[in-house]
Symmetry: C2
Subunit: 453 residues, 2 copies
């Protein structure tokens, strides 16, 4: 199937950008190879729901193969891309060189710890299903360990949870954690009271949701406080140790620390040889190609592009989706210049990508959200309904939409969380069980250290 | 809450036996402590559905705490029990000694490798959610690696999958794997054809489902063969190496080997000091207590008890459920002799546990099953409907029932599998990714070794 006759498009990454590029190209006379290191697309906007036990991983993911299986000209390869040779026009992956005529790099971003990579083990971020499961495990284990400690008569001080970063992910995490403590977990423990748990949200800037208009930032703050979240602004994290987080002289015990503060683009961006910005994003041309290589495109969170007003396009799904479709159209248009040579096609008149911002939505908790559609700003229940509608609508797969809707309806009316499952290591301190993973056991020692402080 | 006033019942294990004992005792004037090393109850009869990507872990589990939260006299402790002191009447767990007046041990069973524990890493069994996710990962990864190999032009020989053990679990796994290859995965790959996959079911005895009447065993064999499963009977596994399984002189390459052959009772049985049988099951008295300790009961898969005809009661959920309720009733009755001393209560006239077998059901695949209700034997679609009805009905939690029903309806009409998610290690050979766990990377080397043979 590695058809040598047709124009071959290789797409690296099956996030929103890559998948939309593939779908838009699938009816063109091209052969497409989609390469991803995972076998599934993750609906990242709902990852925080997996981290907070509201949804199961299978409900916000879909196998890349099955999303694309109806397109016979699309081949999916589960492999980690290790580099490129732009002169030979090949992608290096799985000890192979995979040839392309057009290349779309949509490898996304991960979290950044601002030079403190050692914090990652102590304060996990939220970019993958594995991250979400690790966060879920830590949060639920912290309560189990606290209960055990209180059962043994060793005191029942309330737990501290700290979320670092007041952007949309941090706000979602903090808001949802606060709700869980006050509702879903409230009646399940006998020796501790989860309602007494402190949820701290630490933001370096002056406002939570700093990218939003100030009235919505303020509304988000109020909605968070109503949920019981203790918001600390203008505070920079200077140190993270097991069970302790420091902001300058201020030290805080924390059973669980979650990181939602920084974003770093995939290291693949730097392997393209094009200029990158401080976050590792590739500085693309107006048509999303890289300088000197009109056949190589970078889209989504990995691309750095400014809009007309000079503002950097945000790393959100709508931007990636539109960029994917734009690049697909560009390649299709070049293909239509069928008689022309490859060189002539690539030098066809350039068009620039324009992003039309339809609005932004951030959720805070049950029936709490903020939304901006142009000049219209909404908060609270109506914003939450809009958020719910948009997220269920765009979730991949009809089956997933139905399942997620049921889960939400169930959670909404019962306050229950359906996926409160601790999997992986059960190697708690004092247990004689198997040591089934270092990451797990380290986490437990940290949590245990924190809980026992 | 470790109330010293009320009669204290400690229940070890929150499987079918332990949960039913707790529920039946919850309205009695006792204090109950349920100890389990997991935070969730697992609906084991549907574990094979998680292993074969049909259901998500969250759909067949429920937090033990939330199942029991409405009973204020029940305390749940997530901890691994390490031993007992029957003279002091304490359970040792989490570096504590937990006192009891009555003890119910329902710690269940795991898989046994007949003295070949080194096979476990090569041929995982299916007893926990973690096992199911590991099997799912291996099966899906095998196809991804085969596709990658074929994409690179290194051949596309069909894969071999081997399931060891022709009991209900082995039959379910083999049948469902065969269906997945022929339907759910059939159109997702471009370089390999999953329909060509060989599924081998290896059984040591003469028949699959040996515990069933012969006509149903024969029907199960036919239904398996119709699904394309290659059944090998009277074959004993003598060796398992990475990617190769041997039955005497016969060697077979295998991309994935699954173990459904032996059962070993929890090692906690032996720590009770009572006689155990070869599988480690505790030989209990007729009232499920252990000799010399009328206040200590063993139930479920951990108990060895014969029925009137001298046949060992099978290790299935209905037996465990009825045993749990029986023991709860026994304790309640002893409580009613309120004025009497503890010694008098324990020596109250004994009643014996009787198991009334309502029937057995084993599923083989989509619309394929066998069922026995006394003298009535059914096969095929009707047996499958009965199986479906019983399993959805007994699934814990209304929400889970709805979700599982939707998943099944979806799978039935579309042949899709909703939870085809590879999580955990993505450390494939030739990848530069993180080494995120030894178990994962070993598995991949084995699979890779097998696929590249």
């Amino acid at each position: 199937m590695n058809g040598k006759t047709a124009h071959r498009v290789v797409i690296v990454g099956a996030g929103f950008g890559g998948l939309n590029a593939a779908e838009s190209l699938a009816r063109a006379p091209v052969g497409i190879t989609v390469i991803d290191r995972k076998n599934h697309h993750t609906f990242q906007p709902l990852l925080y729901q997996v981290a907070t036990a509201g949804l199961s991983p299978g409900e916000i993911t879909a196998p890349i193969r099955s999303i694309l299986s109806r397109h016979k000209n699309v081949e999916v390869l589960m492999a980690e891309v290790t580099g490129f040779d732009l002169e030979k026009r090949v992608v290096k992956a799985a000890e192979q060189e995979i040839s392309y005529d057009s290349l779309i790099v949509a490898a996304g971003a991960s979290h950044a710890y601002f030079g403190h990579d050692e914090w990652e083990a102590l304060a996990p971020g939220l970019k993958t299903i594995e991250d979400a499961l690790e966060i879920r495990r830590r949060v639920l284990l912290a309560f189990e360990l606290a209960e055990r400690r209180a059962f043994a008569g060793e005191g029942s001080d309330p737990l501290n949870f700290v979320v670092v970063g007041g952007g949309p992910t941090g706000v979602e995490l903090a808001g949802t954690l606060a709700e869980i403590c006050r509702h879903a977990l409230a009646h399940d423990f006998r020796s501790i009271d989860p309602r007494r748990t402190h949820i701290h949200l630490i933001e370096g800037g002056q406002h939570v949701l700093p990218a939003y208009p100030e009235d919505l930032s303020r509304s988000a703050l109020e909605q968070l406080q109503r949920l019981g979240v203790e918001v600390v602004t203008s505070a920079l994290v200077t140190q993270i140790e097991p069970g302790v987080i420091s902001m300058g002289a201020r030290r805080m015990n924390a059973a669980v620390i979650l990181w939602a503060a920084g974003v770093a683009a995939s290291p693949l961006g730097q392997k393209l040889g094009a200029p990158v910005d401080r976050a590792g994003r590739v500085q693309v041309e107006a048509d999303l190609s890289i300088p000197g290589h009109p056949e190589v495109f970078v889209i989504g969170d990995l691309a750095a592009l400014k809009d007309e007003s000079g503002k950097m396009l945000p790393g959100v799904a709508p931007v990636a989706i539109l960029e994917g479709r734009f690049v697909a159209k560009l390649i299709r248009r070049r293909m239509e210049l069928a008689g022309a040579s490859a060189a002539e096609r690539e030098s066809a008149p350039r068009v620039a990508f324009h992003y039309f911002d339809k609005g932004s939505l951030a959720t805070i908790g049950r029936a709490a959200a903020v939304a901006q559609f142009g000049k219209i700003h909404i908060s609270g229940f109506m914003a939450w309904l809009a958020w719910l509608f948009v997220h269920i609508l765009f979730l991949i797969g009809f089956r997933n939409r139905v399942l997620v809707f049921i889960q939400w309806a169930w959670s909404y009316f019962t306050y229950e969380r359906g996926a409160r499952l601790i999997t992986g290591s059960t190697n708690l301190p004092g247990w004689s069980g198997l040591h089934s993973g270092t990451r797990g056991s380290e986490a437990e020692q940290e949590i245990s250290a924190a809980v026992h402080k």
